[in-house]
């Protein structure tokens, strides 16, 4: 809720680039950085006589995403042509969907400042991406490699009321499309694009204010900042008695302000009509059931399970379920050692630190989750101390060796039998009469000195609890 007596009303259109191998209506490759116009054919360049043939994987990914967004899947959806002229649109129309989209009436939930929000998904429809324009001052160059890559446009209801909600909504959509593995959700590379529709109205007013579209904002932080700016800009304008014009604005992150695209955006007449080159998309119930069955456990449900079954805190569960790969790694580690709390700690501290330092992805980690589980079991069984485990972990991270192998190779087994430790304690006390006397005279701090000495002498292998027990007796 924004103060100043006004309420922001925000709806968001997210274009999700589906990661098929070939384009939606032609067999051109979708590989990201290819040479200029290398991934093109008469179909994607819009040559005379070219025709579209639908890529089955684009349909599957769309159904999968729709189900993950709790949408109903339309058994007979229709492609429609969206007619407009622009150089990055080779055919002079975009094959999209209009009144019969493939997914409808879904929703997503997420938390913002601890408060749960439920945002409706009005629809999600399939369409083809446009090409890329490269502006060179006195002319513009066109690359159609991206033209024809499959998109799923997810359209939310105008349910968001703050910039923070809007940003979290985008993050949630990104997380879900990554979870169901239909898109890598990379805002910078443009495989995920958020267009925000922002309007303001006096609190309690029924009628919606005029909508302004904010386009091409390529980070979640900028989504929040751009909307915050736009809300204030609109309230200022309304309070100055100005009319808000329906337009498209871009966000300039350096100046942290939005500015108009000044294109004569008179309400475009796209003259939608069903594409006569394509038959309706009939999706049998069987396919929907198959895709539903293959759906992975989604982040929300997984986080709740971790809190209930593994006793994790909401915060830890949220971090560990942020990415599906991380959640899988954590769970496999926990399953291996049955100590989920410890597995959670190891992952959130040592593991994530190394991962971020080396800028690695989980698939590049050289050891298995089960190995980390084994390391934790060694600690739980008392075979090694927490400190030793850290040394072993460093070695595991580099060499990928099993923890037991490292332990025996560097004989890091923890000594717990008291007779061996007793011998070391006696030698240390004998070698340090001074500090021994001070301790006995009441200088408690000296005790730490002796613990250090014993640990050093035993190359950190002595079991700290046993050391403390024997020392207290010997120094009484």
């Amino acid at each position: 809720m924004s103060s100043r007596g006004y309420e922001a009303v925000i709806g968001i259109e997210v274009h999700v680039q589906l990661k098929t191998k070939s384009k939606i209506f032609s067999a051109d490759s979708t590989i990201f950085d290819s040479a200029d116009n290398e991934n093109t054919s008469p179909i994607s360049v819009g040559m005379p006589g070219s025709l579209p043939v639908l890529n089955e994987k684009a349909v599957e990914y769309s159904v999968k995403t729709g189900l993950a967004l709790n949408c109903s899947i339309r058994n007979n959806s229709v492609f429609a042509r969206k007619n407009y002229f622009y150089p990055d649109l080779p055919k002079g129309y975009q094959i999209s969907q209009y009144d019969k989209p493939i997914c409808e009436n879904g929703w997503v939930t997420f938390k913002v400042n601890g408060e749960e929000k439920k945002i409706s998904i009005t629809r999600a429809h399939m369409e083809e991406d446009a090409g890329k324009s490269i502006h060179q001052g006195e002319y513009t160059l066109l690359n159609y490699n991206r033209a024809g890559i499959p998109l799923l446009e997810v359209v939310s209801g105008p349910d968001m009321r703050s910039a923070a909600e809007a940003a979290e909504y985008c993050r949630t959509i990104r997380q879900i499309v990554r979870y169901v593995d239909v898109c890598d959700g990379n805002l910078e590379e443009g495989s995920l694009r958020c267009d925000c529709n922002v309007s303001v109205r006096k609190i309690g007013a029924e009628k919606l204010g005029t909508k302004v579209e904010l386009k091409n904002i390529n980070s979640f932080r900028f989504v929040e900042k751009a909307i915050e700016y736009e809300i204030d800009r609109q309230i200022d304008a309304v309070e100055r008695g100005e009319k808000i014009i329906q337009e498209t604005r871009l966000y300039d992150p350096d100046k942290n302000r939005t500015f108009t695209m000044r294109t004569k955006e008179d309400a475009q007449d796209y003259r939608y009509f069903p594409d006569p080159d394509l038959l309706p998309i009939t999706i049998p119930e069987k396919l929907i059931q198959k895709v539903r069955a293959e759906l992975p456990e989604l982040p929300q449900a997984r986080s709740t399970r971790y809190q209930k079954d593994h006793g994790l805190s909401e915060n830890d569960a949220h971090i560990l379920t942020e990415e599906r790969e991380l959640a899988d790694f954590y769970e496999q580690t926990g399953d291996a050692c049955k100590n989920y709390k410890s597995a959670a700690n190891w992952i959130m501290t040592e593991f994530l630190r190394e991962l971020n330092d080396d800028k690695k992805t989980i698939s590049q980690v050289v050891f298995k989750a089960a190995d980390l589980g084994q390391l934790i079991s060694l600690i739980d069984k008392g075979t090694i101390s927490g400190k030793i485990a850290k040394t072993i972990f460093q070695e595991m991270w580099k060499s990928g060796k099993k923890p037991e192998v490292i332990m025996t190779e560097q004989n890091l087994v923890q000594i717990s039998d008291s007779s061996a430790i007793e011998k070391i304690v006696d030698d240390i006390i004998a070698a340090n009469p001074g500090p021994a006397a001070e301790y006995k005279a009441g200088k408690v701090k000296a005790f730490g000195f002796f613990v250090g000495q014993v640990m050093k002498a035993s190359k950190g292998q002595a079991n700290p609890d046993v050391v403390t027990k024997i020392l207290t007796e010997k120094l009484k």
């Binding site: 070939s22 067999a27 200029d36 290398e38 991934n39 093109t40 043939v53 639908l54 349909v59 159609y144």
Partner: protein, 93 residues
């Protein structure tokens, strides 16, 4: 009645530069043609589904496999103006 203003609007939508003389002529011709075509409104089409494809055809989809048949050179060979393998157009915002 398709007046001159509407005819101009249509020409803009369709990105067609049309001479004044043609605009005048088209405007009259459209009025005549559409007056004749109005008769379709007499047909009772209550809950009749619009027909797009006139024969019963079994839909088929394509496997998600890449088949790169053409080179960038071939695809840009007919370009009126290009730089390297990129199409070239007047500057666009």
């Amino acid at each position: 009645m398709i007046d001159r203003k509407m005819t101009e609007h249509i020409a803009t939508l369709a990105r067609l530069k049309v001479s004044d003389q043609d605009l005048e002529q088209f405007s009259q011709q459209f009025t005549q043609i559409l007056k004749y075509f109005e008769q379709i409104s007499k047909v009772d089409t209550t809950n009749v589904e619009p027909l797009v494809t006139p024969t019963d055809i079994e839909a088929f989809w394509r496997e998600d496999s890449v088949n790169q048949e053409f080179t960038a050179e071939e695809m840009t060979a007919n370009a009126p103006l290009k730089s390297g393998n990129l199409f070239k157009v007047p500057p666009v915002v």
